[in-house]
């Protein structure tokens, strides 16, 4: 996994916008020391994020599908503790 990648770099590394390959190998990860389990990600991105017994995010370990990348980026930007990240596979 590479370091945390900003939105533009995530696009560049995954082939640019509006192509089916653009989200190949981009995954959601959580900085567990930052996450407080507020649950915003599970509301904004319920397709990929569920909550565990204590409210912390349970995230699919599959790459983010192209169709959901914009939603994933929004969830990353709106995470109140900046704990949600998008990372490109290496």
């Amino acid at each position: 996994m590479a370091d945390v990648i900003p939105r533009a770099a995530a696009r560049a590394s995954s082939g640019g916008r509006n192509t089916s390959a653009r989200s190949a190998g981009v995954r959601l990860t959580v900085d567990w020391t930052a996450c407080d389990g507020r649950g915003l990600c599970a509301e904004l991105l319920h397709e990929l994020v569920k909550r565990d017994d204590w409210g912390f995010p349970l995230i699919s370990d599959q790459p983010v599908p192209a169709a959901l990348l914009d939603h994933a980026e929004r969830a990353v930007e709106l995470c109140p503790t900046l704990a949600l990240r998008l990372r490109a596979d290496q």
Binding site: M1, D3, V30, D31, W32, T33, A34, C35, D36, G37, D52, D53, W54, G55, F56, L58
Partner: protein, 430 residues
């Protein structure tokens, strides 16, 4: 006798001088402390002067891997720190937060100058500007300070090291926790990346290396990589220290080459005092084996991987037939829950729930539904933390649930097989 009482005496350190013609690289030629610099040099010879790249090549040629538990090749860590930008820091890690381990404290007490020689070598390899000895607070810190003083008076260290007493907690020796503490923060793990080799102590490239690894490097510098490769296996050359406790005649620290049968390690500690029912390998983040599996195990990464186990940092705890493995597990899970740094939700919440469920299996005779629920909660904890505390704790749990399945069924009927109430696995809490 507790593990804590073992380290300062050396009486229990032994080499396998009996059956096999092997002299411990670290424990031999004498189990007594070598704390005086002159005695150290008379025993091992002077430390040769090596260029930075020679140190890295030496570690690579010898095939020296880390002895803190993960078994990562030292030369790769050295290269990563040497290549990173910034003034490098080196740390001899003797935090030894694992309650069932005493080998790092044994080394700090008995071979301080080998550790400090190794620290000088890695400092040279990465052109370090700062060196630390991060030692378990129950190690003889005054003697370590004296050893550092001797070296300063003899002016043999290009980069004198600073002694720091580690926080006495299970996760305090995790390398990002070490770097955090030496940066003036709390001794708790942080999220990676960035890796410690790139950004460690105060953001500088940092090498955190176990004290046993450094002591071995100091011997390799004197005797050569061929000497090291003449012991152990092709994949894992050299020797390893083991802390053997539980149902053995002479609990303590022993040394043996990688690839030694587990049964021989138990024999080095005087042999079993009872019929064994199980062995815990690698500590509280380690793996339980049945006595039958233990009889066929050899202490190498490759062979133990077939049992889902690893030598870890060399902890071997033998559980005799008189002890209840489930009661032992319940106490250790409670300890592991308390040792969570409390930063990551799944670990902070999940480990106490697991601990309470194991307690209910042990003391309330709960049925198999609790076993299924335990597996579900374990799945919520694995891989969801900044460090491996949740993963390691679940490895301990799952392997114990398998090995002690018959005992769990017995407790569900309100019975227990134990004939002794003595606690075997130590659980001090910080």
């Amino acid at each position: 006798m507790t593990i804590a009482e073992l380290d300062d005496t050396g009486r229990h350190a032994r080499t396998r001088s009996d059956a096999v013609s092997f002299t411990g690289a670290l424990i031999g030629p004498t189990a007594s402390p070598i704390t005086d610099l002159r005695t150290h040099h008379a025993t091992y010879g002077d430390l040769p002067h090596l260029a930075p790249h020679d140190v890295i090549r030496l570690a690579a040629d010898a095939g020296l891997t880390g002895h803190g538990g993960a078994g990562f090749p030292l030369w790769r860590k050295l290269e990563a720190v040497a290549a990173a930008r910034g003034r490098a820091v080196v740390v001899a890690n003797g935090a030894e937060g694992e309650p069932a381990s005493a080998k790092d404290r044994w080394l700090l007490a008995h071979r301080p100058h080998l550790i400090l020689d190794g620290l000088q070598l890695v400092a040279r390899a990465v052109a370090a500007h700062e060196a630390f000895v991060y030692a378990n607070p129950r190690a003889p810190l005054a003697h370590l300070g004296a050893a550092l003083g001797q070296r300063q008076r003899a002016r043999i260290d290009r980069l004198p090291a600073t002694l720091v007493a580690a926080h006495d907690a299970f996760v305090a020796g995790e390398e990002s926790a070490v770097a955090g503490y030496l940066s003036g923060g709390l001794p708790i793990p942080r999220t990676k990346p960035p890796r410690v080799v790139e950004k460690g102590v105060r953001g500088r490239p940092t090498l955190v290396s176990n004290v046993e690894t450094l002591a071995l490097l100091a011997l390799i510098a004197r005797r050569g990589p061929e000497w090291f490769r003449s012991m152990g296996t092709a994949e894992q050359p050299g020797t390893m220290l083991f802390t053997v406790s539980g149902a053995v005649r002479h609990p303590g620290v022993v040394e043996a080459p990688h690839g030694t049968p587990l049964a021989d390690i138990v024999d080095l500690a005087g042999g079993a005092t009872a019929r064994l029912q199980a062995v815990l390998l690698g500590g509280y983040h380690g793996t339980w084996l049945t006595a039958h599996e233990a009889a066929g195990a050899t202490m190498s990464r490759a062979q133990l991987a077939t049992f889902g186990a690893s030598p870890g940092a060399g902890v071997v705890v033998a559980i005799g037939a008189e002890t209840c493995g489930l009661v032992e597990m319940a106490r250790v899970m409670n300890y592991l829950a308390h040792e969570s740094a409390g930063q990551c939700g799944p670990c902070l919440n999940g480990l106490p729930r697991i601990a309470s469920q194991v307690r209910s299996l042990a003391y309330q005779g709960r049925d198999q539904r609790v076993v299924a629920e335990l597996e579900r909660v374990a799945g919520l904890v694995v891989g969801r933390g900044a460090c491996h505390h949740p993963d390691g704790s679940v490895r301990f749990l799952r392997s114990g649930m398998r090995v002690f399945a018959a005992e769990i069924a017995l407790h569900a009927q309100g019975r227990c097989s134990r004939t002794s109430d003595a606690a075997v696995l130590p659980t001090h809490t910080a």
